[in-house]
Subunit: 412 residues, 2 copies
């Protein structure tokens, strides 16, 4: 029988009633003849609670223990979903990551899936099981310890299963009915996109659109997984949601497809560092080893052999970054006068594959922000996006102004 | 280095602060030179929440999924405890049941530990790890699925580890400072016992004293594990708590050592069954297969070839018992007129190894209850205990009256 992967996010399984509603959707697909692999997240709020406990216990936690703790929420949902399906007379059982096994690297709390041997689950499908409920977000390292894939990792679990089982489609059920031109909570004019290119989705996801985890989109693009984002709160329909697909399938041709933001950014500045070859490696090597996700980087013009280096990273990695840099200074690898962390910034990005062929997008973006009196602190650009760091208090204003400026409320 | 097992129950790890306090106790033992195996329960209330969800989802749940769900609370505590110890610079790591592995039978939700190979943890001790934090209550079946040991199973985990690692002692930290003559929440005259015989402890535990799980005491008795029950809320001291030990070590010689109770009992009566050889097996076989823990059994005198059969079981197994009996009737294995479930009863027991040599205990117990106007519904006796079923509303009254009657507030 053809295999379908269905992933339900935290809000879709937040209560027993919602789990039941999700199970009914699974039942519909089983009735159509699919063997279904259901990937579940933890019940809404559970993972945050666990992460909070870990942070409070140990701000510089051992990531192996972090993973052991925060992976537990998904196990609960997987079991409850299997029980709910059984109550509906759908043969189902739950699987934890190590049971499948979902083999990952040892990079705890941001592990990558290396292999998902389909044999165990396929054998059960052969024996009449119709639904394998798999705890998302988790796997097992070569050392036999539990790993997690990073926040939102259940999306990646879903796409990886879709690839490993050559699934017909991978449906990501969430609390929004698709991908929007921007966050509807910030702009009421946000419009749902019927289709979006993998590349655009990648930028939107990595910039905080929060609909899909970046790696899940990369993986879907690489393995040609049909990926659909849809709401678990709407009536089932074949045209629901947003299809994430190849660029060629997109008819619209506008410079900007969406405005993304990332609230929890920090801007870190190393004041007065020696401007010498290898200094960037000396700074960003230790940060990378400490697991700090550095995003934007700018270096000021040097004066008398010294310069400033600015970079951005998620707010919750500031302590880690500070420690890594201080350690590097203690080891004599770098030298800096001061380390300034500005935790009150956010990132705003305009994203669109149309940018490649249309000019003036950056100018329009900067003018729009300027007209609103918003100061730009850092700029970074790529082929299909322009990002800026601004004061966090202007976040909503900037998103709304840019959405208006690029007329995203209108269908192309 | 000598190995010590320390087990912390749910209330001892209910909050991050309490986990820290427990970790400090562990640190004291590490400082004394012990390699410590810490067994942790789920944070107070967590397991009940999970069990509630399972019951709501599926009243006749698949026990394999039940186990997958309810075992998750211990994993959280184990990781948090390991992190807390690491913050105190004590080398520690967490282990889930399947990682050790704690090999159990496949009897889901009441599995028995079959083997705990010490090699993995001992190797880590050899490498400098000082504390292995193990998630209690759980193990892994030969089929590779997660099992649990039944409520309070973490005590059994602790004793089993103490036996497997030939630990010097097994300290069970809980929210009471020892074993009492009765539940101090019910009688303010309850007195702490310095020592109690394994046999008495067995009766008290199985009857609902709730201080230690029955199987943990059986196991400790069999493997001669020094077992100490003590409070995690009192200052550490070598004489704290109650030592559970051999009968020979007990100096007191009184007929009754304690009054136990079990609140959630149900009395089930099969009305008008055929009084024929094999009828008991036909009734209790299916109940056993359905996992119903039948406790007391009485059969009325037969009249015209028909009789009534009464038994007690935990309240939450009534539905399961009813279904098993109805199924047996549908299969033609038994025949009964009516099945009456009285869910409003409780069990009260007087326990004491001194009963063996002193008479009149039963008579005194019955008279005491009679004087209070309490009707006895079922009686069962063993060498060292007398149990009765009574209406639940009289539970506190009965416990207090019996505690007074046997003068348990006085040290012997």
């Amino acid at each position: 029988m053809p295999v379908l992967v269905m992933k339900f996010g935290g809000t879709s399984v937040a209560t027993l009633d919602r789990i039941k509603r999700a199970a009914k959707r699974v039942g519909l697909e089983v009735a159509k003849g699919y063997d279904v692999i259901v990937i579940v997240s933890a019940m809404s709020g559970k993972t945050n609670e666990l992460v909070g406990w870990v942070n409070e216990t140990s701000p510089l936690y051992d990531a192996r223990e972090y993973d052991a703790v925060v992976s537990s929420g998904e196990n609960v949902t997987a079991g409850l979903m299997a029980l709910t399906l059984q109550e509906m007379d759908v043969p189902a059982r739950s699987w934890q990551g190590w049971q499948v096994p979902v083999k990952t690297t040892s990079a705890h709390s941001s592990a990558r899936i290396e292999e998902i041997p389909p044999a165990n689950i396929m054998r059960k499908f052969g024996e009449g099981m119709r639904v394998a409920v798999v705890a998302g977000f988790q796997g097992v390292s070569p050392e036999g310890r539990i790993t997690t894939l990073g926040r939102g990792g259940s999306d990646t679990t879903a796409v990886a299963f879709a690839a490993a089982f050559e699934a017909e489609r991978c449906d990501i059920y969430t609390d929004v009915d698709g991908v929007y031109t921007t966050d509807p909570r910030i702009s009421s004019k946000a419009r749902k996109l019927d289709k979006i290119a993998f590349e655009e989705m990648l930028e939107l996801a990595s910039l905080g659109a929060k609909v899909l985890q970046t790696r899940s989109v990369e993986l879907a693009m690489r393995y040609k997984v049909k990926l659909r984002v849809l709401s678990s709160f709407e009536e089932p329909s074949d045209s629901a949601g947003t299809l994430v697909c190849d660029e060629e399938e997109i008819m619209e041709n506008r410079p900007v497809s969406g405005i993304a933001y990332s609230r929890d950014e920090a801007k870190m500045t190393l004041v007065s560092i020696a401007d010498r070859p290898g200094i960037a490696a000396a700074i960003f090597g230790p940060l990378s080893e400490a697991g700090v996700n550095v995003d934007m980087i700018i270096q000021n013009i040097a004066e008398e052999g010294r310069t400033d280096m600015t970079f951005s990273c998620p707010t919750d990695q500031v302590l880690r970054a500070e420690n890594a840099l201080k350690a590097a200074r203690d080891r004599g690898e770098i030298n800096y006068g001061e380390l300034i962390a500005d935790k009150d910034v956010c990132k705003i990005s305009a994203v669109g594959i149309g940018m490649r062929s249309q000019s003036g997008v950056a100018a329009k973006m900067f003018k729009t922000l300027s007209d609103e009196g918003i100061n730009i602190k850092v700029i970074a650009t790529s082929e299909i996006k322009i990002s800026v760091l601004i004061d966090r208090k202007y976040m909503e204003l900037a998103v709304q102004a840019l959405h208006d400026a690029f007329e995203l409320e209108k269908a192309a």
